[in-house]
Amino acid sequence: MSEFLQQLVNGITWGSVYALIALGYTMVYGILRLINFAHGDVYMLGAFIGLYASRWFRAGENPNPFKALLVLLTSMVLSALIGMIIERLAYKPVRKSPRLSALITAIGVSLLLENGGVLLFGASPRFFPQIVAQENIPLGLGVTISNQQLIVIAVSFALMVALRWLVLHTKVGKAMQAVSHNHMAAALMGISVDRIITFTFMVGSALAAAAGVLVALQTPKIEPYMGILPGLKAFVAAVLGGIGNIPGAVVGGLIMGIAEVMVTGYLSPTYRDAIAFVLLIVILLVRPAGIFGKAVAEKV
C-alpha cells in the first residue's frame, strides 16, 4: 500500500509537468488548429535558460527561495520572447497555407531548436545546479515527498490556476476564447487576432519553460534532445483530455504521469514509453474526441 501511494505521489509530480507542457499544446491548437511540434523544444530551452540564469544569479551556491524564483521567472520571460519570435518568423507566414504545410514548418522549427541547441550547448548532458537543497518530508504511511517534488506540484498548480483566471476573467483571455471560436468574427469585434495569437504562444512557451526548470530541479541532467519525448507525451496528454480544452490538458497530463510511473514501478521500465500511446489508443477508441472533448457535429 505504501509503495502504491509513493508511486502515486511520484506520478502526480510527473503528471503536473506533463500537464504544464500539455497546456501550451492545447492552447495553440485551440486557437490555430496547429500541432506545435516545437513546443517540447521550448521546454528544453526553458531548462537551459534556467541553467544559465542560475549561474548568472549564483543560485546554486547558497540556495534560497528568492533566487530560485528569480531563475524560474527569467526562464519563463525569455522563453515567452522566444515563443513570440518563433510565431512571428515561422508560423505567421504559413497561417493561411494548408494545415500540413504549417505542421511541417512546426517540425522544421523543432529540428532547428534541437540542432541549434546541440550547436550552442553541446550534445552531451549538462548538470543543472541544485538551486533548492533537497529535503524529504514524511507524509505518513511510509510515504515521503521531497521538497522539490512539492515545489513542482505547487508551482504547476499555481500556474494552472493563474492560467484559468487569465483565460476566464481577463479581457485578453476572453479575446483568446473569441479567437479560438472564430478568427473572423473575433476580428470584426475589434480583437487584434494577430496579437492574441502571439500572446497565446508567449503564454504557452512560458508554461513550457516553467516545466523545463521544474524538471531540472528533480532530474538535473539536461540535454538538447530532452524535449522530444516529453513533448510528444504531453501532446498525447492534451489529446487524451480533449485537445483545445484546458482542464482536459491538466487531467490528461496527470493520467499520463501516473500511468507512466505505475508501469515503471510495477511492470517494466522499458515499456514506460509505450504506455502513453496504448492508453491514448484505448481512450480514443472509446471516446474519439478525448475525455472532455465535445464531439462536433459536422456541418455541410
Binding site: S97, P98, L112, E114, G116, L232, T270, V278, L284, A289
Partner: protein
C-alpha cells in the same frame, strides 16, 4: 505492344544499370543512390495515404519497421536455406527469388498492421487519426526494443545483403506505376473525392470507410517493402532507425513534393535525401541548415514543390493503345 516494349526496356535498363553502376560509382555514392530509391518507395507509398486520400498518417516508420523485421527474419530463417537449396540456379537469381519472397512477406505483414491501424480511422478524423498512427509507430518501436529474439536494443545483424540496384529501383518503378495507374482509376478518383470532401464523397456513394482502409493497407504494404529493402541493403537493423523522426522525414518528403503529386514525392525524396549528404562538409551546421531550409521552403512554397501537378511522365500512366507522345 507499346506497354510490353516499355516493360522490357525498363527491365533491361535495370539489369544493365545493376551490373554497371556498382563498377563505375564509388561505394558512398552508390549507397546514397540506394537510400534515395528506398526513400522514394517510402514517400510514394505515404503519398497514397496522406496525398491521395487526405488521411493524415504520421507513423509510417512503424510500418517500415514491421516490414523490415519481418522480411529480415524471413530471410534468416527460410530464405537462406532456400538459396542454398537452389544451387542449380545462378546465385543472383536464387538470391533475388529469396528477396522477393521476403519482401512480399514483409509487405503483407505490414499491410496487416495497416489494416489494424486503418480500422480506427472509421471513427477518428484528422488530428486524432494522426496521433493514433503516431502512437502505433512508437508502440512498434518499443516492442522491437523489448523482443530479445530479434535482437532488442542491440539490433539484428547478419541479414544477407540481397537488395541490389535492380530490386530497389524495380520496387521504385512498381510503386510509381501502380500509384499512377491508381490515380487514373475509379478507385483513385474515390480516394481523391475523400481527400477533397469526405461528406460529399459519402453522399455520392463512395464507400469512404473501405477506401480509407484500402489506402492505409496499400501504403503500409509498400512501406513494408521499403523496410525489407532497407534491411537487405544495410544487413543490419536497429529499432533506433524507425523513430518518430523517420516518419517525419517521409512526411516532409510528401508535403514538400506537393500533396498527391507522385512525381513531386519522388523529387522531394531525392532532394531531402541528398540535402543532408551535400551538407556533410559543414558538419555541425548540417542539421541546422537542413531544418532552416525546410522552414523556408514551406514558407515560400506552402503547396509543395510540385503542387498537385505531375511532371510529364504521361506515357507511363496512360492506358494502352491510346497513348500519345508526351507534348
Amino acid at each position: 505492344m507499346k506497354r510490353f516494349a516499355a516493360l522490357v526496356f525498363i527491365l533491361l535498363a535495370l539489369v544493365a544499370l545493376n551490373v554497371l553502376l556498382p563498377r563505375v560509382t564509388n561505394p558512398y555514392h552508390f549507397q546514397v543512390l540506394m537510400l534515395i530509391g528506398i526513400n522514394i518507395v517510402l514517400a510514394v507509398s505515404l503519398n497514397l495515404v496522406n496525398g491521395f486520400t487526405g488521411q493524415f498518417s504520421i507513423g509510417h516508420a512503424g510500418f517500415m519497421a514491421v516490414g523490415a523485421y519481418t522480411s529480415a527474419m524471413f530471410t534468416l530463417k527460410l530464405g537462406q536455406p532456400l538459396v542454398a537449396s537452389l544451387s542449380l540456379l545462378p546465385e543472383p537469381v536464387a538470391q533475388g527469388l529469396a528477396l522477393l519472397l521476403a519482401l512480399m512477406a514483409g509487405g503483407l505483414v505490414a499491410a496487416g498492421a495497416g489494416w489494424l491501424v486503418g480500422l480506427p480511422s472509421l471513427r477518428l478524423r484528422g488530428d486524432y487519426l494522426a496521433i493514433v498512427t503516431l502512437g502505433f509507430g512508437e508502440i512498434i518501436r518499443v516492442l522491437l526494443l523489448n523482443i530479445e529474439a530479434i535482437g532488442g536494443a542491440r539490433g539484428l545483424p547478419g541479414i544477407p545483403a540481397y537488395a541490389n540496384f535492380f530490386w530497389v529501383y524495380g520496387s521504385v518503378v512498381v510503386v510509381i506505376v501502380l500509384s499512377g495507374r491508381l490515380a487514373h482509376s475509379t478507385h483513385g478518383r474515390a480516394l481523391f473525392a475523400i481527400r477533397d470532401d469526405e461528406v460529399a464523397a459519402e453522399a455520392l456513394g463512395v464507400d469512404t470507410t473501405r477506401y480509407k482502409v484500402l489506402a492505409f493497407v496499400l501504403g503500409a504494404f509498400f512501406a513494408g517493402v521499403a523496410g525489407g529493402l532497407f534491411a537487405h541493403f544495410l544487413s543490419y537493423l536497429n529499432p533506433s532507425s524507425f523513430t518518430f523522426l523517420k516518419s517525419i522525414e517521409v512526411i516532409a518528403m510528401v508535403v514538400l513534393g506537393g500533396m498527391g503529386s507522385i512525381t513531386g514525392s519522388v523529387l522531394a525524396a531525392i532532394v531531402l535525401t541528398l540535402l543532408p549528404e551535400v551538407l556533410r562538409p559543414v558538419k555541425d551546421f548540417r542539421m541546422v541548415i537542413y531544418s532552416l531550409m525546410l522552414i523556408i521552403l514551406m514558407i515560400t512554397r506552402p503547396q509543395g514543390l510540385m503542387g498537385t501537378r505531375e511532371l510529364s511522365l504521361g506515357w507511363l500512366f496512360r492506358r494502352g493503345g491510346a497513348a500519345k507522345e508526351p507534348a
